[in-house]
């Protein structure tokens, strides 16, 4: 799964000094779009930016060979209204640390292919338009009522039943009935 931090769309219009778009790719599955790959990056106005545990290879769209690596174990830092990513190291040295507008968080699959008809700008537009729908559609799977089989819950409840049954038998037949003398009589 690719995670793209998009900048240049600042609501204030001042947060960005860089117009490239950046894509993050899982080092574990380069080039894949595995929906469950837990890669994500969040910039928030609160400051710290949470991120997945794995280093992320970063590419610019305009230069696919550029790589930069996040060291996500280092906490991100915030400077005022925008969160900066000072821990990004650039293996080629041509990517500056990026400003991320607070709260911007894109979690998408692969960018649409850049074709002759659409060009890069068109691909980016498609990407922008589809980002929200991708966020909701690609990351979760809708299943029907009967497809939802909480086997773990079933197992847990089965275990509870076994425990309750065993304890009941123990309590009544061993602890109670086994505890003679017992008061007996006839009902009515």
């Amino acid at each position: 799964m690719f995670v793209a931090g998009v900048y240049g769309f600042s609501t204030s219009g001042t947060a960005s000094h860089h117009t490239d778009r950046v894509q993050f790719e899982s080092p574990h599955r380069p080039g894949t779009t595995h929906a469950d790959e837990p890669l994500w990056a969040v910039a928030t106005s609160a400051g710290p930016v949470a991120m997945s545990n794995a280093p992320i290879v970063m590419r610019t769209l305009t230069n696919d060979t550029t790589t930069a690596v996040f060291e996500p174990t280092t906490p991100y830092q915030s400077t005022g209204a925008s969160a900066r990513i000072p821990i990004m190291t650039d293996t080629r040295g041509d990517i500056e640390p990026l400003d991320i507008v607070p709260g911007w968080f894109y979690r998408i699959n692969k960018l649409p292919p850049v074709s002759q008809s659409t060009g890069l700008a068109g691909a980016i537009d498609i990407y922008k338009e589809s980002t929200l729908s991708r966020m909701s559609s690609k990351l979760q799977r809708e299943i029907g009522h009967d497809e939802f089989d909480p086997k773990g819950t079933l197992a847990l409840i089965a275990i509870y039943f076994v425990i309750i049954s065993v304890l009941w038998v123990f309590m009544y037949f061993v602890e109670f009935l086994g505890n003679d003398l017992t008061i007996v009589g006839t009902i009515l």
């Binding site: 009522h145 009967d146 939802f148 089989d149 909480p150 819950t153 079933l154 409840i157 039943f161 309750i164 049954s165 009941w168 009544y172 109670f176 009935l177 505890n179 003679d180 003398l181 017992t182 008061i183 007996v184 009589g185 006839t186 009902i187």
Partner: protein, 167 residues
């Protein structure tokens, strides 16, 4: 209404569990004969216990081949008689009443116990098997000597038993 298969399963299992609980209790009551102590015993004037045909001379009395009636007066702070002997493999009907305040007759470490209420005769039936010595205490706080109240219920081998009430 669409109910998931698993939900049906654990609804049914929960119902089955409740039914199993009830069946267990029913088995205990009908099969084993486990009973509750109730108020079916006679009433008695606590002032006139010593005029009662049985409680005036409390003790063990044989009433059947293997059945014994035991009459016990409970007072502050003693069980009268303090020590009761019954033969093994018999049915023992305990009749208890109090002369003063609420006491209890609790055979320690067993299910046999009852409140002993002045004016009321508590009737308790137990089946005794093996020879064994049971301690008896009062578990209703009855006054300053409550903690000293103790008695004994001894199940002796049948051949060693000498019934006062028997012919």
């Amino acid at each position: 209404m669409n109910i998931h298969t698993y939900e049906k399963f654990w609804l049914a299992a929960a119902m089955a569990l409740i039914v199993a609980f009830i069946l267990t209790i029913t088995y205990g009551t009908v099969g084993i004969g486990v009973a509750m102590v109730d108020d079916s015993g006679e009433t008695i004037n606590p002032e006139e216990i010593n005029e009662h045909p049985k409680f005036s001379s409390p003790g063990v009395e044989q009433v059947g081949e293997n059945e014994y009636d035991v009459y016990i007066q409970v007072v502050q702070f003693a069980f009268l008689p303090t020590e009761v002997e019954v033969p093994a493999n018999s049915t023992v009907n305990l009749h208890l009443t109090s002369r003063d305040v609420i006491h209890s007759y609790s055979v320690v470490g067993t299910n046999a116990n009852t409140m002993v209420i002045p004016g009321e005769v508590a009737e308790v039936t137990v089946n005794v098997d093996e020879p064994k010595e049971y301690g008896v205490i009062c578990t209703e706080y009855c006054g300053s000597g409550h903690h000293n109240m103790e008695g004994k219920l001894t199940v002796v081998p049948e051949e060693e038993f000498e019934s006062e009430g028997s012919q």
